[in-house]
Subunit: 347 residues, 2 copies
């Protein structure tokens, strides 16, 4: 079957744009100029006209060419987002927040996945700037110098949101991984735990893991507990990895009385291993996690964790970008959306 032939056997028009603005005007019984005004600046026409035009747009299947509009103004209405992994549901929640706000303001979201690599992030940023995006949101806060230079030269506003970096390229909307890890470690110490272990993802490629390790050390120093290197593990992501960390720590020579997993999937893997072996939590060992994913509240026992404002980070990141793009603000911002400890039966 020919490319230009639709599934119904009828020939399709070779190029888009066959339905024109004048078709909308005819259906809405207004002038073409009124249609143009209603689409560009709906506040300038009456509610009745706006409604008639909207209905006519839908009835005739009119598709305004946003691309041509954006070229003439040298800007698209697209926001580019780079996340370390699209498949990670923590980032998905931030994506949802961004998407909700952009949809309300007639902007589109384009997403790229860096696979936790700064070089891949740079390539995605280059591609986005090539599309003349109106703004960028970057989850990572460690970038190649080339990426930073490209963004600065483009003049495009950018919001970073992986951690509350003290040296943002432009704007930052996040929470402090240092403060959050410190608060949870202090929480465990106040409950009376004395040998508190920390398990993170590998810190060499992940600024968030490094900040969490430093927050943990700062808390131990504050309450006068020794920092035992045998109680700090870096593990790859995954449920099996959490189970393995649990066994290595408990069967090592320095068994902890509490383990703080700065990574939820790791914590879940550890609790499931305890269930499998019939080890009571927190009597055998207390377990705390980092992010309030739904499952932690339903595990047996429910797991103590931090509530981080993932969705709100997405929403606020989109809002500060739109404020800048639409000229409501010219200032750089650093927004700390904080966190909360959720105490449950596992500690």
């Amino acid at each position: 079957m020919d490319d230009a032939t639709g599934p119904d056997g009828q020939r399709r028009p070779a190029a888009p744009g066959v339905v024109r603005m004048r078709d909308v005007a005819r259906t809405a019984q207004v002038s073409t100029m009124t249609v143009s005004r209603a689409l560009k600046d709906p506040g300038k026409v009456s509610a009745d006209v706006r409604r008639r035009v909207e209905e006519a747009v839908r009835a005739v299947g009119y598709v305004p060419n946003k691309l041509a509009g954006s070229l003439s103004s040298r800007r698209s209405n697209v926001i580019g987002l780079v996340v370390p992994s699209i498949e990670n549901s923590l980032f998905a929640s931030t994506v949802q927040g961004i998407s909700d706000v952009l949809r309300q303001h007639d902007h589109q979201l384009m997403i790229a996945d860096s696979g936790y690599s700064a070089v891949a992030e740079e390539a995605a940023i280059r591609a986005f700037l090539g599309q003349r995006v109106a703004g960028l949101i970057l989850h990572d806060t460690t970038h190649t110098p080339e990426a930073v230079a490209m963004i600065r030269q483009s003049g495009v506003p950018v919001a970073e949101n992986g951690t509350l970096t003290p040296t943002p390229i432009d704007m930052v909307v996040s929470y402090s991984n240092f403060d959050a890890a410190k608060a949870m470690t202090l929480h465990l110490a106040r409950l009376g735990y004395r040998r508190i272990a920390l398990v993170t993802l590998p810190a060499s490629t992940n600024a968030r893991s490094r900040d969490r390790q430093e927050g943990y050390r700062a808390a131990l120093a504050e309450v006068g507990l020794p920092a035992d290197p045998r109680l700090m593990l870096e593990m790859p992501p995954g449920l099996a990895s959490g189970a393995e960390a649990l066994l290595r720590l408990l069967e090592g020579g320095a068994a902890p009385d509490a383990i703080f997993f700065a990574g939820d999937v790791l914590a879940i893997g550890a609790v499931l291993e305890c269930i499998r072996r019939g080890w009571p939590v927190p009597e055998k060992v207390a377990i705390a996690a980092f992010d309030n994913i739904d499952l932690l509240a339903h595990l047996v026992p429910p797991v103590t964790t931090l509530r981080l404002p993932r969705l709100e980070i997405g929403r606020r990141s989109a809002e500060v970008l739109l404020d800048r793009i639409q000229g409501r603000s010219t200032s750089r911002v650093s927004i700390d959306l904080r966190f909360e400890i959720i105490h449950r039966a596992s500690t």
Copy 2:
């Protein structure tokens, strides 16, 4: 601080594009025409020239204006994807597959979230066509008539991938929800279970749930088991919802000996409720799930489920679109990527 001033206090250029192709040419020590050729059609220059141009592009921070290029050819290099929920990790896996393939072929992905609404899907499709996307991928297979008409008129290729619909708009890459649900129900019947319950998400807004219900009924008919309406439940998504379905079925007047949850989160909620109450699985009741998410293999006991080709569906959807866009294929395709039953201790 002024908008046009960078974080380092230096003024930024007001518009992008200050680094030009001739800067790349100078650095690479080739002509501007050679740079243009190397970027547009890398196969036409030598490997050495290609490498020098690539290094120069990176060194000077050159960003080709893809938007201008796409306007002149009336097509962008963007693929638009509409999923029912960005936050759902099953869709995230498909997104990852699409993203992997597109990145290799210098295409970008733009994602919209329909919130399971055909009207919101139509709005997203209109926005994408306005951006002159090169192709569309739609996870839902139920659309408004206006959306279908718009897509046909645009001539843009589209791949649907939520279920193996017999009436695709254009191309379909998926598995059959009917076949998968039928196969799992037959599997439970062959293990000797006689009162098999089915729990799905609400079917009125979800073609996948409807197909699964029909596959379940077809299996019961095939093995001569009666279809008891008390054994079919529709539940909202969520862990708590799975636990509630378990209790309603077991405490109702027609207690099942096996429950097939056509929704993984529901199945996990049910197994966690069994752990909490000390009910042995499968002795008290067998439990099967629909999608092979990692957690199911680590639950206690591990849960029988279906392995569905989520990542592969994403990859193949992107490939068939690129084949069409790049002129390697003119045919409509319907690709069934099948599934596999994974038998574990829960049944």
